[in-house]
C-alpha cells in the first residue's frame, strides 16, 4: 500500500439516448491481496499472515443524486479491476462511482451524461 493509488477512470457509451440503456466501464488500479501465504508445509500446511490484507470493500454507484447500486467486494477480486455495468438514461446527470477500501480510504470518479441524438 506504499504506492499512491490513482483515482478510478470512467468511460461511457458515446451516443446516449434518453430512456435507452447505456454501458459504463470503470477501471480502478487498486491492489487486491488476501495477505495470506503458506510458508510451512512440513507437517499440516496452514496459512499464515504474510502481508496486511488489502482489497476494495465497497463500490457505490450514483446517478445524479440517487444511489443506484452498491457492490460489496472482497479480497477475492483481481488486482486493478474493471467493472462494466448498464444504466438506463433517465436524466442528464453525472454518473459517480465511489470506491472504499478496507482501510476506509475513499476514491471517486464521475462522468457527465448528456443525451445525443
Amino acid at each position: 500500500m506504499a504506492e499512491k493509488i490513482k483515482p478510478p477512470r470512467i468511460r461511457v457509451s458515446r451516443r446516449i439516448k434518453k430512456n435507452k440503456v447505456f454501458k459504463v466501464k470503470v477501471k480502478f488500479d487498486h491492489p487486491s491481496f488476501t495477505g495470506l501465504a503458506m510458508a510451512d508445509d512440513t507437517t499440516e500446511p496452514v496459512f499464515n499472515r504474510a502481508k496486511p490484507v488489502t482489497f476494495i470493500r465497497n463500490m457505490l454507484v450514483y446517478y445524479g443524486d440517487e444511489l443506484v447500486s452498491r457492490l460489496s467486494l472482497s479480497s477475492g477480486i483481481a488486482d486493478d479491476p474493471l467493472f462494466t455495468f448498464k444504466l438506463k438514461a433517465t436524466k442528464e446527470a453525472p454518473v459517480k462511482v465511489v470506491f472504499i477500501d478496507n482501510f476506509g480510504k475513499r476514491w471517486e470518479a464521475s462522468k457527465e451524461i448528456k443525451f445525443k441524438g
Partner: protein, 235 residues
C-alpha cells in the same frame, strides 16, 4: 568429605559464573513478522538475522499464533542490542525473491470501521436480502445431536470461526468481514433458529452456502452445538 565439598563448591561456583556470563541480563522478546511468504523466506530471515546480530533465535512460530502473524522469539542482551535495532535490521533483510520483511505493528483486524457513506448506502439499499422461513427444530435427542454438531463444527467451521467460536479462525484473516463470534447465540431460544438455519443454508458475505454440503439434520446438529458455545471467560 572435605575434598568432595571443595570440588562441589568449586564446580558450583564455576557453573554459576558461567551461567551468569552467558545468560546475564538477556531478555526474550516476540516480534510479529510481515513478509514471510514462502519456506525459503522463513529460512532466509533467520540465517540473515544471525549473521548480522549477536542474538539467539528461539523459534519462529508460523502456526497457531494469537494474531495469525508469524511470531519470532529472540533472546538478546538489551545492554548490547536494543529492540529498535533488531526491528531495523529485520526491516533491512531481503528474502531470496527480493521482498523485504517488516515487524508488524498494525491493528489486529485490518478492516477499518465503515465510513458514513457506506452506512448510508446500506441503509438505502439494504445489507442483504433474506427470506427467513419459519422452521422448527426437529431434534429429539439433544445430547447426541450436540456431539455430532461439535464434530461437524471442528471439521467444517472452526477454520474460519475458530475452535472456540471466537471468529478468529486460521483462514479468516483475508475475509471481507470478520467471521461472527458464535457465542452470540449461546443459549439462544427458538427465535434464532430461522436465522441460523438460513445463514448455514445460504451463507453470508465470505461464508459459503453450507446447504449444498450439509443435510437438513446435520444443519440442526450444528445449530444445537452453536447454542452451547460459551464465551471463553465464561468457560
Amino acid at each position: 568429605m572435605k575434598k568432595f565439598l571443595r570440588i562441589f563448591g568449586i564446580s558450583y561456583c564455576f557453573t554459576f559464573f558461567l551461567f551468569q556470563t552467558i545468560f546475564a541480563g538477556t531478555v526474550v522478546d516476540k516480534f510479529k513478522i510481515e513478509g514471510i511468504i514462502s519456506i525459503a523466506s522463513t529460512k532466509a530471515l533467520q540465517s540473515e538475522l544471525l549473521k548480522k546480530m549477536d542474538i539467539k533465535i528461539i523459534d519462529l512460530n508460523l502456526k497457531k499464533t494469537d494474531s495469525g502473524w508469524p511470531v519470532l522469539r529472540i533472546e538478546y542482551d538489551p545492554d548490547i542490542i536494543s529492540k529498535n535495532k533488531i526491528e531495523t535490521v529485520i526491516g533491512e533483510i531481503e528474502d531470496p525473491a527480493g521482498h523485504k520483511y517488516k515487524v508488524h505493528k498494525g491493528p489486529l483486524i485490518a478492516n477499518a470501521n465503515l465510513i458514513d457513506e457506506e452506512n448510508q448506502a446500506m441503509t438505502i439499499l439494504g445489507d442483504m436480502t433474506m427470506d427467513l422461513k419459519q422452521v422448527n427444530n426437529p431434534t429429539v435427542d439433544f445430547d447426541s445431536s450436540i456431539k455430532r454438531g461439535k464434530d461437524m463444527f471442528i471439521k467444517n467451521c472452526a477454520k474460519c470461526h475458530g475452535l472456540n467460536g471466537n471468529g478468529y479462525g486460521v483462514v479468516a484473516h483475508g475475509f471481507t468481514t470478520w467471521p461472527r463470534q458464535l457465542w452470540a447465540w449461546y443459549k439462544a431460544d427458538s427465535a434464532a433458529d430461522s436465522y441460523l438455519y438460513w445463514i448455514i443454508e445460504n451463507g453470508k458475505s465470505d461464508m459459503p452456502p453450507w446447504g449444498l454440503v450439509l443435510s437438513e439434520n446435520e444443519r440442526w446438529d450444528l445449530i444445537n452445538y452453536i447454542k452451547t458455545i460459551k464465551k471463553p471467560e465464561e468457560n
